[in-house]
Symmetry: C2
Subunit: 212 residues, 2 copies
Protein backbone atom coordinates (compact mmCIF):
# COMPACT_ATOMS: atom_id res chain seq x y z
CA UNK A 1 0.00 0.00 0.00
CA UNK A 2 2.64 2.53 1.07
CA UNK A 3 3.66 3.67 -2.39
CA UNK A 4 0.25 3.81 -4.01
CA UNK A 5 -0.82 7.42 -4.42
CA UNK A 6 -4.17 8.06 -2.84
CA UNK A 7 -6.64 10.57 -4.13
CA UNK A 8 -7.33 12.94 -1.23
CA UNK A 9 -10.79 14.15 -0.35
CA UNK A 10 -11.10 17.83 0.36
CA UNK A 11 -10.92 18.88 4.02
CA UNK A 12 -9.66 16.84 6.95
CA UNK A 13 -9.29 13.16 6.22
CA UNK A 14 -11.32 10.92 8.54
CA UNK A 15 -9.52 9.88 11.76
CA UNK A 16 -9.84 6.22 10.79
CA UNK A 17 -7.00 6.59 8.36
CA UNK A 18 -5.37 5.13 5.31
CA UNK A 19 -1.82 3.78 5.41
CA UNK A 20 -0.65 6.92 3.63
CA UNK A 21 -2.17 9.16 6.30
CA UNK A 22 -0.47 7.14 9.02
CA UNK A 23 2.84 7.23 7.14
CA UNK A 24 2.72 10.99 6.85
CA UNK A 25 1.85 11.35 10.51
CA UNK A 26 4.82 9.13 11.39
CA UNK A 27 7.12 11.29 9.26
CA UNK A 28 5.96 14.39 11.15
CA UNK A 29 6.61 12.63 14.45
CA UNK A 30 10.07 11.47 13.35
CA UNK A 31 11.12 14.93 12.15
CA UNK A 32 9.63 16.55 15.26
CA UNK A 33 11.52 14.18 17.56
CA UNK A 34 14.84 14.94 15.87
CA UNK A 35 14.28 18.69 16.13
CA UNK A 36 13.14 18.67 19.76
CA UNK A 37 15.94 16.34 20.82
CA UNK A 38 18.49 18.69 19.33
CA UNK A 39 17.10 22.14 19.94
CA UNK A 40 14.17 21.94 22.29
CA UNK A 41 10.72 23.42 21.73
CA UNK A 42 11.38 27.12 21.46
CA UNK A 43 13.91 26.93 18.65
CA UNK A 44 11.78 24.52 16.65
CA UNK A 45 9.34 26.16 14.26
CA UNK A 46 6.44 24.31 12.71
CA UNK A 47 7.44 25.72 9.29
CA UNK A 48 10.84 24.06 9.59
CA UNK A 49 9.31 20.70 10.52
CA UNK A 50 6.89 20.81 7.60
CA UNK A 51 9.71 21.76 5.23
CA UNK A 52 11.99 18.93 6.40
CA UNK A 53 9.07 16.47 6.35
CA UNK A 54 8.19 17.75 2.86
CA UNK A 55 4.59 18.31 3.83
CA UNK A 56 2.68 21.22 2.32
CA UNK A 57 2.28 24.18 4.58
CA UNK A 58 -1.24 24.34 5.91
CA UNK A 59 -1.86 20.60 6.00
CA UNK A 60 -0.41 20.19 9.51
CA UNK A 61 -3.89 20.40 11.02
CA UNK A 62 -4.93 17.34 9.07
CA UNK A 63 -2.63 15.41 11.39
CA UNK A 64 -2.73 17.24 14.73
CA UNK A 65 -5.30 19.50 16.34
CA UNK A 66 -2.67 22.12 17.25
CA UNK A 67 0.99 22.58 18.15
CA UNK A 68 0.32 21.64 21.79
CA UNK A 69 -1.27 18.34 20.73
CA UNK A 70 1.73 17.70 18.48
CA UNK A 71 4.08 18.37 21.43
CA UNK A 72 2.11 15.97 23.64
CA UNK A 73 2.32 13.27 20.97
CA UNK A 74 6.09 13.83 20.67
CA UNK A 75 6.63 13.52 24.44
CA UNK A 76 4.72 10.24 24.53
CA UNK A 77 6.41 8.93 21.38
CA UNK A 78 9.85 9.75 22.76
CA UNK A 79 8.98 8.16 26.11
CA UNK A 80 8.03 4.90 24.36
CA UNK A 81 10.95 5.00 21.93
CA UNK A 82 13.41 5.55 24.77
CA UNK A 83 11.83 2.89 26.99
CA UNK A 84 12.35 0.34 24.18
CA UNK A 85 15.94 1.45 23.76
CA UNK A 86 16.47 1.16 27.51
CA UNK A 87 14.91 -2.29 27.64
CA UNK A 88 17.25 -3.60 24.95
CA UNK A 89 20.03 -3.16 27.53
CA UNK A 90 18.05 -3.78 30.74
CA UNK A 91 16.46 -7.05 29.67
CA UNK A 92 19.69 -8.65 28.44
CA UNK A 93 19.87 -11.51 30.91
CA UNK A 94 23.28 -12.61 29.65
CA UNK A 95 24.69 -9.79 31.82
CA UNK A 96 24.54 -9.12 35.56
CA UNK A 97 21.98 -6.46 36.57
CA UNK A 98 24.53 -3.66 37.06
CA UNK A 99 26.30 -4.62 33.84
CA UNK A 100 22.96 -4.10 32.06
CA UNK A 101 22.76 -0.54 33.37
CA UNK A 102 26.35 -0.01 32.25
CA UNK A 103 25.39 -1.38 28.82
CA UNK A 104 22.68 1.29 28.59
CA UNK A 105 25.31 3.93 29.45
CA UNK A 106 27.58 2.67 26.65
CA UNK A 107 24.66 2.63 24.21
CA UNK A 108 23.73 6.21 25.15
CA UNK A 109 27.35 7.35 24.80
CA UNK A 110 27.53 5.88 21.30
CA UNK A 111 24.22 7.59 20.44
CA UNK A 112 25.40 11.01 21.58
CA UNK A 113 28.74 10.66 19.82
CA UNK A 114 26.99 9.65 16.59
CA UNK A 115 25.21 13.02 16.52
CA UNK A 116 28.35 14.91 17.58
CA UNK A 117 26.81 15.66 21.00
CA UNK A 118 24.19 17.89 19.40
CA UNK A 119 21.24 15.71 20.44
CA UNK A 120 20.38 15.22 24.09
CA UNK A 121 17.27 13.96 25.79
CA UNK A 122 13.94 15.34 24.61
CA UNK A 123 12.46 14.95 28.09
CA UNK A 124 15.38 16.78 29.70
CA UNK A 125 15.26 19.53 27.07
CA UNK A 126 11.55 20.14 27.60
CA UNK A 127 11.94 19.84 31.38
CA UNK A 128 14.46 22.68 31.23
CA UNK A 129 12.10 24.78 29.10
CA UNK A 130 8.99 23.93 31.12
CA UNK A 131 8.45 27.45 32.50
CA UNK A 132 7.64 28.60 28.95
CA UNK A 133 5.74 25.52 27.74
CA UNK A 134 2.05 24.54 27.86
CA UNK A 135 1.30 23.39 31.41
CA UNK A 136 -0.18 20.14 30.02
CA UNK A 137 3.38 19.01 29.21
CA UNK A 138 4.47 18.94 32.87
CA UNK A 139 2.68 15.79 33.99
CA UNK A 140 3.58 13.98 30.75
CA UNK A 141 7.28 14.73 31.36
CA UNK A 142 7.11 13.74 35.04
CA UNK A 143 5.30 10.49 34.15
CA UNK A 144 7.97 9.65 31.60
CA UNK A 145 10.63 9.91 34.31
CA UNK A 146 8.47 7.72 36.61
CA UNK A 147 8.30 5.07 33.88
CA UNK A 148 12.07 5.11 33.28
CA UNK A 149 12.68 5.08 37.04
CA UNK A 150 10.54 1.99 37.50
CA UNK A 151 12.61 0.18 34.88
CA UNK A 152 15.93 1.01 36.57
CA UNK A 153 14.43 0.21 40.00
CA UNK A 154 13.42 -3.24 38.73
CA UNK A 155 17.01 -3.95 37.66
CA UNK A 156 18.40 -2.61 40.97
CA UNK A 157 16.09 -5.00 42.82
CA UNK A 158 17.61 -7.78 40.72
CA UNK A 159 21.07 -6.41 41.60
CA UNK A 160 20.24 -6.85 45.28
CA UNK A 161 19.12 -10.43 44.71
CA UNK A 162 22.36 -11.05 42.79
CA UNK A 163 24.40 -9.56 45.65
CA UNK A 164 25.64 -6.58 43.59
CA UNK A 165 23.88 -3.97 45.74
CA UNK A 166 23.73 -4.02 49.54
CA UNK A 167 20.33 -4.60 51.15
CA UNK A 168 20.26 -1.31 53.07
CA UNK A 169 19.98 0.71 49.83
CA UNK A 170 16.49 1.16 48.39
CA UNK A 171 16.00 0.56 44.63
CA UNK A 172 13.41 3.32 44.07
CA UNK A 173 15.36 6.28 45.51
CA UNK A 174 18.53 4.99 43.80
CA UNK A 175 16.67 4.81 40.48
CA UNK A 176 15.42 8.35 40.97
CA UNK A 177 18.99 9.43 41.78
CA UNK A 178 20.10 7.82 38.53
CA UNK A 179 17.74 9.84 36.32
CA UNK A 180 18.29 13.09 38.21
CA UNK A 181 22.02 12.84 37.66
CA UNK A 182 21.83 11.30 34.20
CA UNK A 183 19.94 14.31 32.81
CA UNK A 184 22.65 16.55 34.24
CA UNK A 185 25.30 14.37 32.61
CA UNK A 186 23.58 14.56 29.20
CA UNK A 187 23.40 18.34 29.51
CA UNK A 188 27.11 18.51 30.38
CA UNK A 189 28.09 16.09 27.58
CA UNK A 190 26.36 18.38 25.05
CA UNK A 191 28.06 21.43 26.51
CA UNK A 192 31.55 19.89 26.63
CA UNK A 193 31.04 17.88 23.42
CA UNK A 194 32.42 14.85 25.20
CA UNK A 195 31.20 11.59 26.70
CA UNK A 196 33.40 12.14 29.75
CA UNK A 197 30.54 13.56 31.92
CA UNK A 198 28.45 10.46 31.12
CA UNK A 199 31.31 8.21 32.24
CA UNK A 200 31.99 10.33 35.30
CA UNK A 201 28.38 10.15 36.42
CA UNK A 202 28.01 6.42 35.67
CA UNK A 203 31.20 5.64 37.61
CA UNK A 204 29.97 7.56 40.68
CA UNK A 205 26.54 5.96 40.45
CA UNK A 206 28.02 2.46 40.27
CA UNK A 207 30.25 3.16 43.30
CA UNK A 208 27.19 4.42 45.18
CA UNK A 209 24.96 1.42 44.47
CA UNK A 210 27.76 -1.07 45.08
CA UNK A 211 28.30 0.63 48.42
CA UNK A 212 32.04 0.69 47.75
CA UNK B 1 24.73 61.23 42.40
CA UNK B 2 22.21 58.46 41.57
CA UNK B 3 19.11 60.64 41.49
CA UNK B 4 20.56 63.69 39.81
CA UNK B 5 19.40 63.81 36.21
CA UNK B 6 22.32 64.05 33.84
CA UNK B 7 22.17 65.86 30.55
CA UNK B 8 23.19 63.30 27.93
CA UNK B 9 25.48 64.12 25.04
CA UNK B 10 24.32 62.90 21.67
CA UNK B 11 25.67 59.53 20.49
CA UNK B 12 27.37 56.87 22.59
CA UNK B 13 28.56 58.07 25.98
CA UNK B 14 32.31 57.68 26.55
CA UNK B 15 33.36 54.29 27.95
CA UNK B 16 34.92 55.97 30.99
CA UNK B 17 31.54 56.48 32.53
CA UNK B 18 29.52 58.45 35.01
CA UNK B 19 27.87 56.80 37.99
CA UNK B 20 24.56 57.03 36.17
CA UNK B 21 25.91 55.14 33.16
CA UNK B 22 27.23 52.39 35.42
CA UNK B 23 23.94 52.26 37.33
CA UNK B 24 21.94 51.79 34.14
CA UNK B 25 24.33 49.11 32.93
CA UNK B 26 23.91 47.28 36.26
CA UNK B 27 20.11 47.47 35.95
CA UNK B 28 20.33 45.86 32.50
CA UNK B 29 22.53 43.11 33.91
CA UNK B 30 20.20 42.50 36.85
CA UNK B 31 17.10 42.30 34.66
CA UNK B 32 18.93 40.13 32.13
CA UNK B 33 20.07 37.70 34.85
CA UNK B 34 16.52 37.28 36.18
CA UNK B 35 15.14 36.61 32.70
CA UNK B 36 17.86 34.14 31.65
CA UNK B 37 17.70 32.29 34.98
CA UNK B 38 13.99 31.78 34.54
CA UNK B 39 13.50 31.28 30.84
CA UNK B 40 16.87 30.84 29.15
CA UNK B 41 18.14 32.78 26.16
CA UNK B 42 15.67 31.93 23.43
CA UNK B 43 12.55 33.05 25.28
CA UNK B 44 14.17 36.28 26.41
CA UNK B 45 13.73 39.20 24.04
CA UNK B 46 15.81 42.33 24.23
CA UNK B 47 12.62 44.40 24.01
CA UNK B 48 11.29 42.76 27.14
CA UNK B 49 14.51 43.44 29.05
CA UNK B 50 14.55 47.09 28.04
CA UNK B 51 10.89 47.46 29.01
CA UNK B 52 11.39 45.88 32.45
CA UNK B 53 14.59 47.90 32.98
CA UNK B 54 12.68 51.00 31.87
CA UNK B 55 15.37 51.93 29.37
CA UNK B 56 14.39 53.59 26.11
CA UNK B 57 14.38 51.29 23.13
CA UNK B 58 17.41 51.95 20.98
CA UNK B 59 19.77 52.95 23.78
CA UNK B 60 20.84 49.34 24.45
CA UNK B 61 23.89 49.81 22.25
CA UNK B 62 25.13 52.57 24.50
CA UNK B 63 25.78 49.84 27.04
CA UNK B 64 26.68 46.73 25.06
CA UNK B 65 28.12 46.21 21.59
CA UNK B 66 25.49 43.61 20.68
CA UNK B 67 23.25 40.89 22.12
CA UNK B 68 26.12 38.36 22.10
CA UNK B 69 28.32 40.71 24.16
CA UNK B 70 25.41 41.21 26.57
CA UNK B 71 25.05 37.43 26.89
CA UNK B 72 28.78 37.04 27.58
CA UNK B 73 28.58 39.69 30.28
CA UNK B 74 25.59 37.92 31.87
CA UNK B 75 27.38 34.55 31.95
CA UNK B 76 30.38 36.10 33.67
CA UNK B 77 28.24 38.15 36.06
CA UNK B 78 26.21 35.06 37.03
CA UNK B 79 29.41 33.02 37.49
CA UNK B 80 30.77 35.61 39.92
CA UNK B 81 27.46 36.14 41.70
CA UNK B 82 27.00 32.42 42.19
CA UNK B 83 30.61 31.87 43.31
CA UNK B 84 30.06 34.48 46.07
CA UNK B 85 26.83 32.78 47.10
CA UNK B 86 28.61 29.42 47.15
CA UNK B 87 31.49 30.80 49.22
CA UNK B 88 29.13 32.12 51.87
CA UNK B 89 28.41 28.46 52.67
CA UNK B 90 31.76 26.90 51.74
CA UNK B 91 33.95 29.25 53.77
CA UNK B 92 31.91 28.97 56.98
CA UNK B 93 34.55 27.38 59.17
CA UNK B 94 32.15 26.92 62.06
CA UNK B 95 30.89 23.84 60.18
CA UNK B 96 32.64 20.65 59.10
CA UNK B 97 33.56 20.55 55.38
CA UNK B 98 30.67 18.29 54.33
CA UNK B 99 28.24 20.29 56.47
CA UNK B 100 29.30 23.36 54.47
CA UNK B 101 28.32 21.64 51.21
CA UNK B 102 25.02 20.66 52.83
CA UNK B 103 24.55 24.31 53.88
CA UNK B 104 24.90 25.33 50.23
CA UNK B 105 22.24 22.75 49.30
CA UNK B 106 19.86 24.21 51.92
CA UNK B 107 20.57 27.74 50.69
CA UNK B 108 19.88 26.71 47.07
CA UNK B 109 16.66 24.94 48.08
CA UNK B 110 15.42 28.10 49.84
CA UNK B 111 16.34 30.14 46.75
CA UNK B 112 14.41 27.90 44.38
CA UNK B 113 11.40 27.75 46.67
CA UNK B 114 11.38 31.56 46.97
CA UNK B 115 10.83 31.84 43.21
CA UNK B 116 8.30 28.98 43.16
CA UNK B 117 10.78 26.75 41.29
CA UNK B 118 10.59 28.97 38.22
CA UNK B 119 14.23 30.03 38.35
CA UNK B 120 16.99 27.51 37.85
CA UNK B 121 20.66 27.90 37.06
CA UNK B 122 21.57 30.32 34.28
CA UNK B 123 24.63 28.24 33.39
CA UNK B 124 22.58 25.04 33.21
CA UNK B 125 19.86 26.75 31.16
CA UNK B 126 22.34 28.07 28.62
CA UNK B 127 24.25 24.78 28.60
CA UNK B 128 21.03 23.05 27.58
CA UNK B 129 20.43 25.62 24.83
CA UNK B 130 24.05 25.68 23.64
CA UNK B 131 23.35 24.09 20.23
CA UNK B 132 21.44 27.25 19.27
CA UNK B 133 23.65 29.85 21.01
CA UNK B 134 26.69 31.82 19.84
CA UNK B 135 29.69 29.45 19.97
CA UNK B 136 31.59 32.00 22.09
CA UNK B 137 29.32 31.10 25.04
CA UNK B 138 30.56 27.49 25.21
CA UNK B 139 33.98 28.09 26.78
CA UNK B 140 32.56 30.70 29.16
CA UNK B 141 30.00 28.17 30.41
CA UNK B 142 32.58 25.37 30.72
CA UNK B 143 34.97 27.68 32.58
CA UNK B 144 32.23 28.62 35.02
CA UNK B 145 31.74 24.96 35.89
CA UNK B 146 35.54 24.57 36.30
CA UNK B 147 35.55 27.45 38.76
CA UNK B 148 32.64 26.04 40.81
CA UNK B 149 34.25 22.58 40.69
CA UNK B 150 37.52 23.88 42.10
CA UNK B 151 35.63 25.40 45.04
CA UNK B 152 33.87 22.13 45.89
CA UNK B 153 37.11 20.17 45.34
CA UNK B 154 38.87 22.44 47.86
CA UNK B 155 36.22 21.64 50.50
CA UNK B 156 36.36 17.91 49.70
CA UNK B 157 40.13 18.00 50.26
CA UNK B 158 39.40 19.55 53.65
CA UNK B 159 36.83 16.80 54.24
CA UNK B 160 39.57 14.21 53.71
CA UNK B 161 41.84 15.97 56.19
CA UNK B 162 38.96 16.07 58.66
CA UNK B 163 38.32 12.34 58.16
CA UNK B 164 34.87 12.85 56.57
CA UNK B 165 35.88 11.41 53.18
CA UNK B 166 38.02 8.31 52.67
CA UNK B 167 41.49 8.81 51.15
CA UNK B 168 40.88 6.57 48.13
CA UNK B 169 38.32 9.03 46.68
CA UNK B 170 39.70 11.92 44.64
CA UNK B 171 38.32 15.43 45.33
CA UNK B 172 38.38 16.67 41.71
CA UNK B 173 36.32 13.88 40.09
CA UNK B 174 33.93 13.96 43.05
CA UNK B 175 33.52 17.73 42.63
CA UNK B 176 32.82 17.25 38.92
CA UNK B 177 30.30 14.54 39.82
CA UNK B 178 28.63 17.02 42.17
CA UNK B 179 28.02 19.66 39.50
CA UNK B 180 27.00 17.15 36.81
CA UNK B 181 24.31 15.77 39.07
CA UNK B 182 23.38 19.08 40.69
CA UNK B 183 22.39 20.60 37.35
CA UNK B 184 20.19 17.58 36.72
CA UNK B 185 18.62 18.03 40.16
CA UNK B 186 17.88 21.73 39.50
CA UNK B 187 16.25 20.81 36.19
CA UNK B 188 14.11 18.17 37.93
CA UNK B 189 13.19 20.50 40.81
CA UNK B 190 11.85 23.03 38.29
CA UNK B 191 9.91 20.33 36.46
CA UNK B 192 8.41 18.78 39.60
CA UNK B 193 8.05 22.15 41.40
CA UNK B 194 9.60 20.54 44.46
CA UNK B 195 12.89 20.54 46.35
CA UNK B 196 12.74 16.76 46.69
CA UNK B 197 15.10 16.12 43.72
CA UNK B 198 17.69 18.46 45.28
CA UNK B 199 17.48 16.52 48.57
CA UNK B 200 17.57 13.19 46.77
CA UNK B 201 20.70 14.12 44.85
CA UNK B 202 22.45 15.66 47.90
CA UNK B 203 21.71 12.59 49.99
CA UNK B 204 23.20 10.26 47.37
CA UNK B 205 26.22 12.51 46.91
CA UNK B 206 26.91 12.60 50.67
CA UNK B 207 26.64 8.79 50.89
CA UNK B 208 29.07 8.52 47.97
CA UNK B 209 31.74 10.86 49.40
CA UNK B 210 31.41 9.43 52.90
CA UNK B 211 31.97 6.00 51.34
CA UNK B 212 29.02 4.68 53.34
Amino acid sequence: MENVPIKRRRGRPPKNQSASYQDTRQVLIRVGLAALTEKGYSYTGLDEILRVANIPKGSFYHYFDNKEAFGQTLIEAYGHFFASKLERSLSDNSRTPLARIQAFVEDAKAGMEKFDYRRGCLIGNLGQEMVALPESFRSLLCNTFRDWESRIARVLTEAQVAGEMPDHLLPEPMAQFFWIGWEGAVLRAKLEKSSQPLDQFAEGFMALVRGS
